[in-house]
Amino acid sequence: MSEPSVKLKKLSLLNFRGARDLIDLNLGSRCKSCAIFGNNAEGKSTFTHALEWFFSGKIAWLRGEGISDEDIVNLASSEEDDTSVNLVFNKSELNSLKDYDKKKRRSGHSNKTQVFTNYIENEARYDRLYLDQHTILWFLSRTKGEKKAEIAKIVGYEDIVKVKSVFSSTVRDLERDRRLWEAKKSLEDNRGILTKEIYGEAINDTKELLAKSQDLLRIFGYKKALTNLDELDEAIKEAIQLLPSQERAEERVDLERIKERIGKLDKKQDFTSLVSGWVSNFNILLKDQETVKKLKMDEFLRQAERVLIDSPEIENCPLCEQPIESQEELLGKVIERYRKLIEIRDKLKTHGSELADIKSELEEIERECSEISEGLKKRKIPHDSEAVKEYKTLISKTIQLMERGFNDRKIVLIDYKVIKKQVEGIKLVLQAVTLELSKKISDLAITKEEEEKQVAYNKIVRGKRLVLDNISHKKVISVFGLLIQGLRRVENQLLELQNHVMQQILDLISDDVNKFFCDLNKKENVKNVKLELKGEEGIEFSLEFYDNEASPPKKYLSESQLNSLGIAFFLAAVKKFNKSNKFFVLDDVLLSFDKNYRLRLLDLLDENFYDYQIFLLTHEEYWFQMMKRKFPNWIFKEVYWDFNNGIRFKDLKFDPLDNIGNKLARGEKVGNELRTYIEALLKEICFALEVKLTFRFGMDNERRMIGEMFSALTSSLKKHQSNIQDNKDYKELEVSNFVSTCASHHNPDLVSPGDIEETIEKTGKFRKLFVCPKGKMVERRNNVPGQNKISCKCGCLQIDWKE
């Protein structure tokens, strides 16, 4: 693995996300690191997103419903404007401009060389380049399985994970394969049939099949030993010759079936009672012809009921215009008549459904007669076919009469005498046929020996088919087993392989994660932070928290500790696994960090990533100032944004005191901000000059009032016979109204704007006594050789100081 070396010289954005006009982030030929400050929503993250889009073609943050590729385009840009991200690297062969074609909705790199393609698609594919708060929380909240997959992706073992998952999935598919289950089910079913119906036991192979078949063939006088399936087939052919005539057997079956049908029909031939009950009830209903005729009136009456209920004031009948004497009485009559009609309608409905049932039964009798008649014709059994025909006609006519009467609402007249006569006739015909059938069936009967041969033959043929099927099913099951076993073995080996290489990686990365985490959490009782394989499929952080094992860490760690764990992991991954790129972005990662954490993170970066190109993005001005002092050689940018112009860089000479002055000029209250600034300035001076202050525990040690620090600083300057404390600019701030107000705990925002303006000016002058034009503080450790003076780091500012 070669050492990563790719850094950025320039990053240019055009119409990309928050960037409207072309914005260049020049990092110089030495590819300097860079800190970018900007308030929330001023466009800092656009730089991170640009890198993410350039390298991966997507922006993780921009995922979800309603979001499309087009959302990388600046909102204020027009249809014709280009959208692009241009990166200039320290290796010019990698320079490329990636643009987005709005019409085609496609993006592409200008650099089409093999070198660049290899860089973007392989070498830099899994490099960790950016970390933001969202990603930290996302990673820490993943399940242990997802963490493992993510880490595998980082270290380039994604292939093993993917291939292993293909094997897992394939094994599952094979185990559930329809062919396997069908073979297993058929095997079991066939074994059941072989045991219960054929051999009394389940036969598993050809040898046993031949032995059992040989036993069954004895009844046919077959004595040769069967040695293979061909011989069995030959024996079956010989046996079939000795079976009773197939034709005879078929005729007998047919005749038995006809006889059975006649037997069933005998109970239903006389349909008089089936019909007469219905006809009688229907005719009774139709006697009240007048009411039946009024059935069509029911809708009219229903409307009348509604009119009478809805319009109680109605005086005349709307139909005949006769006066209504009692509306209540009329309504009662209407309802009564209406109900009567409903009853009749319901009865008619019942009759209709009963008629349908009777019709169905009569048609069934008719069908049976037809089939009996056809069967008799086929087997040439003499019978009175005319009588059967007349009987069928009688059934059809009866159905017609009933249907017509019902549909026309007319009395149904059935001549039961005719039915009785016809029924008696058909009964006699069928009795004669039954006698003839019995005689014929008796003539066609087979002997016991013939029957035994038939049974034996059936067993031989069926048994052979089932045993051969089972041999085939077993083969299928066995092949499935072989493949499943092999694939599962590969799956397990890949899992072990994956865990083995992963454990090596975890051991490798855990040292750095632990070191970085402990560097960020120096005072915490947290140690031995590591990543461990958990179970077969997962990875989780573990650590000791006050000597107790804490896994998962969120059980014990605070939000900021978890945050620092995420950062430690990211930095460790950058250090160990980035293959090409020697730069990375930390985008507003210190959401819940206190000042101590921030300083420690800068120290950590300084000690461990001094040779990396780092991009630190923050919305916290204080931390931005810290960076300026810590990394004077970096490039510092401040961004702001407006809709029409997009992201812009502010003047780089950022001075918080000027900023306070500007705010004051805009009429904002800045008293507290000015006090905070003077406190911070005095703290830095006291720290640089090693001024002694009363020790306090905890955060109280951090909380120092302006008056207290001024007093200690003045004492210290006097003690070291400095010339500064008597300087006019020193005195003017020390005795200013503002400082006095702050010292006496009054709200500095109550100080008049004039006084504040004056104090800003005085603070600037005071600062110049200790801070050189290059921004370096005079420090006690910088003794000027041979003189009672100390100086700033660059030596351009000196003050008297006697040790």
Partner: protein, 70 residues
């Protein structure tokens, strides 16, 4: 040297996942508990980088099933 069911792999800490798998599928033939026809199918598919989805694997397994079930 890591050993998995008789499959020996060299020190793999600096190798990519693909390199590790190259070695693994080559060495798999030494595992006598895996059917040789199955191994040759797997090796062939891996050389074509066709083991990232189960489509090709299932297709080849179908052929193997038909062949071996005859």
């Amino acid at each position: 040297m890591a050993i998995f069911w008789g499959v020996a792999l060299k020190n793999d800490i600096l190798k990519t996942g693909v390199e590790i798998l190259d070695e693994y599928f080559e060495e798999l033939s030494k595992d006598k508990k895996i059917d040789q026809d199955l191994h040759s199918v797997l090796l062939d598919l891996w050389k074509q980088r066709r083991l990232y989805t189960k489509t090709y694997l299932m297709h080849e397994l179908d052929d193997l099933l038909k062949e071996k079930s005859k």
